[in-house]
């Protein structure tokens, strides 16, 4: 596809005499896309473990009926902050980290277009989460109204720490918007000569579309939290009927952000899987152009389906029908993607290295989550599913075995390129198989208790749900422990243990990032490569 000339190696030598500063300053002041990518990824992983610890508290309380470990008010704080951390602290920063590492290397750019803003967009994130987490230790505790913060529970009926919640969401939003601007400007302006739009790797395409979604909807979220803030502290009545407002309007605004947000968390995953499957099938991706069009269609449709989260709020019947049909439509381009991956594997020459294992698990389990999503789209049946564990099962299948499995697949796929050493394959296989089994013990029975009538966000439940909940909790603990294997593997990898790898790393890997040396030098493509 391209040639990386000797000038690149020449550049390496050239740069050795002003290598990055050592110690903490390297990380605080860095404007290097690879360093910032690493920061994002480690931050996301720490947040993943933090949010995971909260999930452990939730599952411990739900291990058996009755209240044993935590009070309901604290339980609500755990479900709320678990959701916020996993969405805004784990999944989104992990994808931004991958974008930072990979987008410049994939399009032949020397760095991100706006490196100082890149530094800033990362370094405000830890403060956002410090503020959010510290509110848990304040009098009255942290936010306890669910990550969806429906008014008036989050306004008139919430604690004073709501102000901190609003502030931290604002910071997360600013960080995301800056990250998105950076991705867009980089892709538009810094592609190597010959890297035309339809030659861009799919990870780049999906991230470009994701970045536009981010810019479109993060301001809507900022608006929603600001209205919550003024309703609570400054006497406005956006969401209070007594002052002429409407609590359901909050949900319209929130989900106008919230549904595209769902695709923000899955489109880059589609990109990752579309990079990995062809490598280990040793066959070109089937239907590249249709993948690009499908991604764009999903992004466009994501703006006209938001009210499918709100079927029980009492919408007019024709609005319900519109949102049902629009939602069902999304399954068409999503189906195209899944079919294309299967067609890529068809008559390939498959091998099953760890990234491929995660990618295959992604395709199967994400599809299960997608199919339950199709069931949820059917309005009359959604009245039964809505706000039960069936929904919890659905969105954990698409977010954990979807988004998070894709992030793990990506880390295993590109980690040898980043460190120059093969990771510990034995540990990686343990991590995969333990995660795969436990994640299904954790989330699959949630479909059953949900259909049987267990509402979500409750700290205690009727006796008929007891047996399944025990299994779910055991699966949860096992999944939590499995991630410690990943932690051990990552620490080992960062200490540069393991066998050195070739530039290409994986036999079937294609693309610019596989043509530079392993580990990737601190500066790459200062002279743009030529794409044939």
């Amino acid at each position: 596809m391209s040639t990386v000339t000797e000038t690149l190696h020449h550049d390496d030598d050239h740069h050795e005499h002003h290598a990055p500063p050592a110690g903490i300053k390297r990380w605080l002041y860095t404007t290097n896309h690879k360093d910032i990518g690493t920061l994002y990824l480690w931050f996301a992983f720490i947040m993943f473990l933090t949010g995971g610890a909260m999930a452990m508290v939730i599952r411990a309380e739900l291990f058996q009926p009755g209240l044993q470990i935590v009070e309901p008010h604290f339980f609500n704080q755990m479900t709320t902050v678990h959701g916020l951390i996993m969405v805004f602290g784990a999944v989104m920063p992990a994808f931004t980290g991958l974008a930072n590492w990979l987008v410049p290397m994939m399009i032949g750019a020397p760095d991100m277009a706006l490196p100082r803003m890149n530094n800033w967009s990362f370094w405000i994130l830890p403060f956002a989460f410090l503020i959010l987490l510290s509110s848990l230790f304040m009098e009255g505790g942290g936010p306890a109204f669910g990550w969806t913060f429906y008014a008036p529970l989050s306004t008139t009926y919430s604690g004073d720490s709501t102000a901190l919640f609003v502030f931290s969401v604002h910071i997360m939003g600013i960080s995301s918007i800056m990250g998105a601007i950076n991705v867009i400007v980089t892709i538009f302006n810094m592609r190597a000569p010959g890297m035309t739009w339809m030659k861009m790797p799919l990870f780049v395409w999906t991230w470009l579309i994701t970045a536009f979604l981010l810019i479109a909807v993060m301001p809507v979220l900022a608006g929603a939290v600001t209205m919550v803030l003024t309703d609570k502290f400054f006497g406005t009545s956006f969401f209070d009927a007594a002052g002429g407002g409407d609590p359901v309007m909050f949900q319209h605004i929130f989900w106008f952000f919230g549904h595209p947000e769902v695709y923000i968390m899955i489109l880059p995953a589609f990109g990752i899987i579309s990079q990995i499957v062809p490598t280990f099938a040793r066959k070109r991706l089937f239907g590249y152009a249709s993948m690009v069009y499908a991604t764009a269609s999903i992004a466009l449709l994501s703006f006209i389906v938001w009210a499918h989260h709100m079927f029980t709020t009492g919408m007019p019947v024709f609005a319900e029908m519109f949102f049902m049909l629009a939602t069902m439509l999304i399954s068409v381009p999503t189906g195209v993607k899944v079919f294309n991956w299967v067609a890529t594997m068809w008559r390939g020459s498959l091998s099953f290295e760890v990234p491929m294992l995660f990618a295959l698990a992604f395709i199967v389990l994400f599809t299960i989550g997608g199919l339950s999503g199709l069931m949820l789209a059917i309005t009359p049946v959604d009245f039964q599913y809505h706000d039960t564990y069936f929904v919890v099962a659905h969105f954990h299948y698409v977010l954990v075995t979807g988004a998070i499995f894709s992030i793990m697949a990506a880390v295993y796929y590109w980690l040898p390129k980043w460190t120059g050493k093969m990771f510990d394959i034995t540990l990686a296989k343990w991590h995969f198989w333990c995660s795969l089994v436990s994640v299904n013990v954790l989330f699959f029975p949630m479909h059953f208790v949900g259909l049987a009538g267990m509402p979500r966000r409750i700290p205690d439940y009727a006796l008929q749900f007891a047996d399944f909940n025990k299994w779910i909790s055991l699966g949860g603990f096992a999944f939590g422990l499995s991630q410690l294997i990943f932690l051990a593997l990552l620490i080992k990898a960062c200490r540069k243990k393991g066998e050195p790898v070739s530039d290409q790393v994986w036999e079937g890997a294609e693309g610019l990032e596989w043509e530079i040396p392993s580990p990737a030098p601190y500066h790459t493509f200062e002279t743009p490569p030529v794409i044939k």
């Binding site: 609500n76 669910g146 359901v248 319900e320 029908m321 079919f339 594997m345 069931m375 009727a462």
Partner: protein
């Protein structure tokens, strides 16, 4: 009319426990895997739609995963598979865009039919106003002068594990809603505070209770029985503790029940007037007050009166409970706007308000010695 005195409540709950909870065996299975078919034509249609969707999804999944696992088994490098060269086909892409689209239309038609039937709440025989509040339901029959609160009946000791849990743990209430079978019953659903959601799985009704707005839903129950559900929208601390219990009775039995219920409420109103003239002793006020406090106030202000710091204020040692009695009556009766403190004048009778305020002014070391009588409440509420 809307107030029920304590003694009547005690009689009533005895009456209810006789009829409603005689059936002590739960029909809900452990390891229940699927949605219930329910007891209305609509819930049966919803169940059928659910099964149709489920089967279509399983067929799609088997097809996709079948092809995938065939590849995984037979197109592997270790078996010497050589990669083919194809990587696009417009025909195939069009096929797997159009075919799913057709399947979607097949799904959408029956779904739309059921949806239209579900949303048509016209021509009701009976109308009930359902009002959610933190954390109980209130039912008001619009055609009769009958209304009451419906609260969780599971004891705190069962939740904390000090007592064995009953069969209907967390799914039992002190006063269930009673509706007739074979009649169109319309529910008007709203809320006094945050958003709740009124859900009875056997009727396939889940409708949000939005403060300041009224939603509707309807049902026509085919079989008499007891049907249990829960609040389905996170509504604060005790969201998990506000179940819905509906008893469906044959129309004749329902008519009998509603007229009995009406008589009971009339008696309660007369009792209320009689109590206005009487003074209760401190012991009586305190013991009644404690019961009312436990049922209505302890969820937020906690059984020990210390509240939840930063969320719900303490009553123990609080300025209002120790000093200004008029302010105390005012806040309990009319609530405090902009906070979670509800107006209890519409939930409790005057003698109950008197008892609970007396209790709050004399419990947990709040030794004011103040006694509040029903007539004081009457004076405060109607005299101003």
């Amino acid at each position: 009319m809307k107030k029920i005195s304590l003694s009547v409540m005690a009689v009533l709950s005895a009456f209810q426990s006789g009829s409603a909870f005689a059936e002590s065996v739960s029909d809900l299975d452990q390891y229940q895997l699927n949605m219930r078919k329910g007891v209305t034509d609509i819930s049966a249609e919803v169940y059928d739609l659910h099964m149709l969707m489920f089967i279509i999804c399983v067929v799609i999944a088997v097809g996709v995963f079948g092809a995938m696992f065939y590849s995984i088994l037979f197109h592997r490098k270790s078996r010497g598979a050589k990669p083919a060269n194809f990587h696009e086909s417009v025909k195939v892409e069009i096929a797997w865009t159009v075919i799913p689209f057709v399947i979607l239309i097949v799904m959408a038609i029956p779904a739309a039919k059921t949806l239209i039937a579900m949303e048509d709440a016209s021509e009701p025989d009976v109308t009930v106003l359902v009002t959610g509040s933190q954390w109980k339901w209130h039912y008001k029959y619009m055609d009769n002068d009958v209304e009451f609160y419906s609260r969780l009946a599971t004891q705190a000791d069962e939740i904390s594990g000090k007592l064995d849990k009953g069969v209907n743990y967390l799914l039992e209430v002190d006063q269930p809603l009673v509706i007739p079978t074979d009649k169109r019953v319309r529910f008007l659903i709203t809320s006094d505070d945050v958003i709740h959601s009124w859900w009875v799985p056997d009727f396939a009704i889940k409708q949000d209770a939005n403060p300041g707005f009224i939603n509707d839903a309807w049902t026509k129950v085919n079989e008499p029985g007891i049907y249990r559900g829960q609040c389905a929208e996170l509504c604060g601390k005790d969201h998990g503790f506000m179940p819905v219990v509906v008893i469906a009775k044959e129309p004749a039995e329902y008519d009998k029940w509603i007229s009995e219920r009406q008589a009971v409420q009339e008696k309660a109103a007369a009792e209320e007037q009689r109590l206005l003239a009487m003074n209760m002793s401190k012991d009586e006020l305190m013991s009644n007050g404690q019961k009312i406090y436990t049922a209505n106030c302890a969820a937020c202000h906690m059984p020990n009166g210390e509240g939840l710091p930063g969320v719900f204020p303490a009553l123990k040692g609080s300025d209002i409970a120790l000093n200004d009695m008029a302010a105390h009556i005012e806040i309990v009766a009319n609530g405090k706007s902009g906070t979670a403190m509800a107006a209890f004048a519409k939930q409790l009778s005057m003698s109950e308000l008197a008892a609970v305020i007396t209790f709050e002014r004399n419990a947990w070391g709040n030794d004011t010695g103040d006694l509040v009588q029903a007539k004081d409440i009457n004076a405060a509420l109607n005299g101003q």
